[in-house]
């Protein structure tokens, strides 16, 4: 099991996830992953003055899935959309102090969810 391989930061975000919850009227929303592979993430964003003014997530998944979701929201909250769009899964994993190699795919979920949520917001016009 990977738990000993999880860094202190990962365990911190797993135990106390930031920005957890649902958003009533999000400006952008996305759901990525699927239950067959075990991870599902729903991401909600509120946009004001081209910045992510608020962000919330819900995740069904393992320690890495929950931690990367939490870290991602922390990294992009308050940031301009253009900057947030560029967040990579590598950046999220690095911010967490690294992830065990078999868990890196969990960080893909978070980065993809953000891109989708921003796209969703932009398509709304």
């Amino acid at each position: 099991m990977a738990s000993q391989a999880y860094s202190k930061k990962v365990m911190n975000h797993f135990r106390n996830p930031r920005n957890l919850g649902e958003m009533k009227n999000p400006d952008g929303m996305a759901q990525v992953g699927n239950p067959v592979c075990g991870d599902v993430m729903r991401l909600f964003i509120k946009v004001k003055d081209k910045k992510i003014s608020d962000i919330k997530f819900q995740t069904l998944g393992c320690g890495a899935a929950i931690a990367t979701s939490s870290m991602l929201t922390m990294m992009v909250k308050g940031k301009p959309l253009a900057q947030a769009k560029k967040i990579t899964k590598k950046a999220v994993a690095e911010a967490l102090g690294g992830l065990p190699p078999e868990k890196l795919h969990c960080s893909v979920l978070a980065a993809d969810a953000l891109k989708e949520a921003i796209k969703n917001y932009q398509n709304k016009g």
């Binding site: 990977a2 738990s3 135990r15 239950p35 075990g38 991870d39 393992c62 320690g63 929950i66 795919h105």
Partner: protein, 388 residues
């Protein structure tokens, strides 16, 4: 915080009595059992006694007991050994096993298939039981052996080995069983089981890691897998680990003596745990056979949560358990056992296994029943509400 270990199916703590029996052979009685002098004789005698002890408990001849490194190495020796011997003698090239075997059996069978043998992997029913009729149907002229585990380590289901042996005997094929999970709780008499080969490993029943046993019925020919000496009649060459072998025999002796009491006591606690979980956690389900199951295994699938996440929270509360979810597997695939039983991947991800032991107390079970619902609730609240 008091720590609660509930992963006995993964490994067990070394029994103090076993450690005591082993100690002289880790210290002053260090001789090589093959040496002619006194030090050698002393070690040789210890191994002979260990072998006799094991044979008595299994109800077989000492010459039918071999000491190896682990259950897995015993599985390899039994299955590969029998298959290569049969091929050498021109006696068939087909083997049969079940879809819920431990990797120590399944991987061996699949490796032999790649090397030119024919393999049949039989399905199981929803509760994990192999149908003896299916085995009978699958046996053909070229079949060398059938390998079916005694009891499953993930979900606890006990296989009808006795019934299967009547079929294999009728058809003249070998029957091997991986008994790793069964030693503390099930009948160990090989004549009752009707098997020609049986594997087990000491660390699952209070013995040390690094030593396993193989019952090999007289007259069954095995090709050795490794070379280098006469040890274990040429089947497991290498200087014997006297201390480990002594440990295995002592642990088996204790397991046999305590079996009746253990099965009753542990079974009762297991039932309390099962009741506690199913009652207090909505949409949780027991996996494996409800009655034909090992006394120590309480395995579940819980909807709407992921296994590793549950384990991490349990660990924070001092509780150690395990899971068959993809995220805990290292290969990102859910447990093949749960899949073979028809459990869909979404549900397999919420798999949770508690395996109890002789040291487990009622207090510990109460604590688990108390904290688990809260953990599940917390994780379910964190997840998106998904439409079916």
């Amino acid at each position: 915080m008091k720590k609660i270990y509930l992963d006995y199916a993964a490994t067990t703590p070394l029994d103090k009595r076993v450690l005591k029996a082993m100690q002289p052979y880790l210290t002053e009685k260090f001789g090589n059992p093959s040496s002619i002098h006194f030090w050698g004789q002393e070690a040789r005698a210890a191994i002979d006694q260990a072998r006799e002890k094991v044979a008595k408990i299994l109800g077989c001849y000492p010459t039918e007991i071999y000491f190896t490194g682990t259950t897995t190495t015993s599985d390899n020796l039994a299955i590969q050994g029998a298959c290569w011997a049969a091929k050498k003698a021109g006696r068939g090239n087909h083997l049969i096993t079940s879809s819920v075997e431990h990797h120590g059996v399944l991987d061996v069978c699949q490796a032999l298939e790649k090397k030119g043998f024919k393999l049949t992997v039989l399905p199981v029913d929803k509760q994990g039981i192999v149908d003896p009729q299916e085995i009978e149907k699958a046996i053909k002229k070229e079949t060398i052996l059938v390998s079916v585990m005694y009891a499953n380590n993930e979900v606890g289901t006990i296989q009808p080995i006795g019934e299967i042996s009547r079929i294999t005997k009728k058809k003249g094929v070998l029957l091997h069983t991986d008994a790793a999970a069964a030693i503390d709780y099930l009948d160990l008499l090989v004549s009752n089981l009707g098997v020609e080969m049986m594997s087990f490993g000491a660390h699952k029943f209070g013995g040390p890691k690094g030593v396993g046993g193989l019952f090999l019925k007289k007259g069954v020919k095995l090709e050795p897998l490794t070379y280098g000496g006469h040890h274990e009649r040429g089947l497991w060459p290498g200087t014997e680990a006297t201390a480990l072998i002594v440990g295995l025999a002592k642990a088996l002796e204790i397991a046999a003596q305590e079996q009746k009491t253990a099965t009753r006591k542990v079974g009762r606690l297991r039932d309390q745990l099962i009741k506690g979980v199913l009652t207090n956690i909505p949409n949780s389900y027991l996996t494996g056979h409800p009655i034909k199951r090992l006394a120590d295994i309480a395995s579940f699938v819980i909807e709407g949560v992921e296994g590793e996440a549950i384990l991490l929270h349990l660990s924070d509360q001092g509780i150690g358990a395990s899971s068959g979810s993809a995220c805990t597997s290292g290969v990102l695939k859910p447990s093949h056992v749960l899949t073979a039983m028809g459990i869909p991947p979404q549900l397999a991800h919420g798999s949770l296994r508690f395996s109890l032991g002789k040291q487990t107390t009622q207090e510990e079970i109460r604590k688990v029943v108390k904290v688990l619902p809260g953990i599940v609730k917390k994780l379910r609240r964190m997840a998106p509400r998904l439409s079916r």
